[in-house]
Symmetry: C2
Subunit: 405 residues, 2 copies
């Protein structure tokens, strides 16, 4: 007998028919003799509609109050699933975030879990209840309702699995696992059977939207095996686990891309100490997240300074840098929104040389110009012209042997 | 400076425009220098829709789980009002039932408040916050969400007013006060300026739907002045207070009617000790509420036994009594759903004789036959043929001088 945590996203509980399907799957797991804790999201679309409602009053509703409103989404689906299970003659009990004792910090809208005592869950499991927990929500030490940010139900699921020392946290979603690349872009994309926390962290931060990054960090820290799979079939999905020796045989695990960034370059900046801080502090003060940063030294004692920001923040960032450019006597500010970041990820890179060279030559052979490069221990990213995105993904997928995995 | 509790019902918070109107009224009271605690219901229709959703799974959803779902209605309106007030530059904070420490028993769906510590409310009031509390909800001593039953927000309002020793509990509704009778039935109905807790208790139990009975009981027990008024104008409504000497000058305060009951008669029942219990125990076991009970002795050692039940329970009650009739050798079971109960209420009755006679003769003069009679210290009720309801109300309204109040 195992303790299994199952998390179902918004599309899996989008209506009563789907909730009934979820109940059948939960019941099947329970009937196999396992203890089951279920985490549910709000019905798809509900959270967005609640945000829109509050935004009709003001663009910037108080975050504490907004969290109280948003928490209602999961507060409806959790008891609906419990009622459905009871109707199938299973003992089931719903718990809200605060009832499951999910203690968070007070960062409304994006709270971090600081502890889960889970006594109530354990007590119910001992009575052979199926426990259905409302995802995405918790409370802070003053008793205020908090929410965990977009995709927060993944975090709820993994954190509860960690607190209960569950055997596995199953994340049910509308795709059947994690792929070597986006199947919409590359028809040869293959499902990955096993992937390490580190790799999925890199891939998630690069635009793969299967798991919330924070949930993977928690899974890694508490060594929770995560099984990403579809709620629409019995098929096995992708296991996210600690790095295993055989993983290194595969040099590159996946190819990802991100079209949501824009590039800003300050040209002919005086090459002086502290110039990077002068350029980026106002961006940070405006709460704009910078991704890649590159500085090339020129001969003349001047330098070109380039960084990327989310496309949605491009205009604001350009306004800021036009002011900064005057202050620091830079010659020009250039911006480009037609870029794309292509990345390859894999723990095998650590022990294989020549991976970067292979990536660059693969792109060069097809005359795809590389505008920026950034690397981590298990990832290489190249910024290219946006129009080459699909082609680059397909080329790299083939070049690194992922077509025939 | 006073402490004022204001409760707004579902029609007053039915959309953002109305919530904005509520906010203006709350702000005006606050600007006059008062401390303000606001209790809100769910937007009108929301609670019914949530019940329908759960009923699509099963006719009898688990009451604990249903309460978790129903509590979301007020959990949306309370923060929406707080955000609206903040947007008008007032400090406002929403509190859910459990955050306002509204402790109830564990009777899901119809929980009774057992205590309110209200520390959090007091703390916020001291900081000159407008406190917006989600009505209709609390939690039990095990941390389960509970709801207080239909009209439960009235109870929340009055109970919080009692706990805070508020100067007044204002109940805002879509009518401008309590009337001598239903204005839809009698065009001469007049608004009552002051009425006693006792009278409103009788009138509420007789079908007047302005206030939840339990809220009046709490108001009476804790001596909370309740002001029933409309949220659509500044007009004063009806004050519900302790009985005052001048109230006795008015013999009858109001005329009410109730068309929602049905009559069941067991004919020729052996007149033996314990027969009433034999007839009514199975009804009570089936959780059917009996209102009036009448037993007439006949010469023959037999008796006719009549009682009324809600129309919705008529069929079940008839089935039960048809079985009972065989057991106790009653001759026949007769049922009638076309009845109506007309009542007159007033604390002045205590010191005035002849009120009952006047009621009976008023009806007799117009050939309205009285089928059953029941009385309390400050109320007389007659069951008549349903088709005479409107006529009887109008006749009694005139006969007891209410037309020209």
């Amino acid at each position: 007998m195992s303790l299994i945590v199952q998390k179902f996203g918004g599309t899996s509980v989008a209506n009563l028919e789907r909730i009934s399907n979820v109940a059948k799957r939960v019941a099947k797991t329970f009937d196999e003799g396992h203890d089951v804790v279920v985490i549910v999201s709000a019905m798809s679309g509900v959270t967005d509609n609640l945000i829109k409602l509050a935004n009709q009053i003001t663009e910037l509703p108080d975050k504490r109050e907004l969290d109280v409103i948003l928490a209602t989404g999961e507060q409806v689906t959790a008891p609906l699933l419990a009622i459905t299970l009871q109707n199938m003659n299973y003992s089931a009990t719903s718990l809200l975030g605060f009832q499951a004792e999910i203690l968070t910090d007070g960062a409304y809208g994006n709270a971090r879990i600081v502890g889960i005592s889970a006594n109530k869950i354990k007590e119910l499991l001992e009575k052979r209840n199926i426990v259905v927990v409302a995802g995405f929500q918790g409370w802070d030490s003053s008793g205020n309702i908090t929410t965990l940010g977009r995709g927060g139900s993944d975090t709820s699921g993994v954190a509860i699995a960690a607190a209960l020392k569950a055997d596995v946290c199953e994340i049910y979603t509308d795709v059947d696992g994690i792929y070597t690349t986006d199947p919409n872009v590359c028809s040869k994309a293959k499902k990955i059977n096993r992937i390490s926390y580190e790799e999925i962290l890199e891939m998630a931060s690069l635009g793969a939207k299967v798991l919330q990054i924070r949930s993977v960090e928690i899974a890694k820290n508490f060594n929770v095996p995560v099984h990403v799979r579809t709620s629409f079939s019995e098929e096995e999905g992708t296991m996210v686990v600690n790095e295993e020796p055989e993983m290194e045989r595969v040099v590159v695990t996946g190819v990802t891309y991100n079209k949501n960034e824009a590039r800003i370059t300050l040209k002919n900046v005086p090459d002086q100490p502290g110039i990077a801080a002068k350029i980026l502090s106002p961006i940070s003060d405006a709460s704009i997240v910078v991704d890649m940063i590159i500085q090339n030294t020129k001969d003349s004692g001047e330098t070109d300074f380039t960084f990327t920001v989310p496309k949605a923040e491009f205009k604001r960032a350009m306004d800021i840098e036009n002011r900064v450019a005057k202050d620091i006597s830079a010659k020009e500010v250039a911006g480009d929104t037609n870029i794309s970041k292509i990345s390859i990820t894999g723990v095998g890179m650590r022990s294989h040389s020549g991976v970067a060279v292979k990536m660059f030559t693969t792109l060069a052979k097809e005359n795809i110009n590389i505008l920026m490069i950034s690397t981590s221990e298990i990832r290489i990213s190249c910024v290219i012209d946006e129009k080459y995105t699909e082609k680059a993904v397909q080329l790299l997928h083939t070049a690194f042997g992922l077509d025939k995995q």
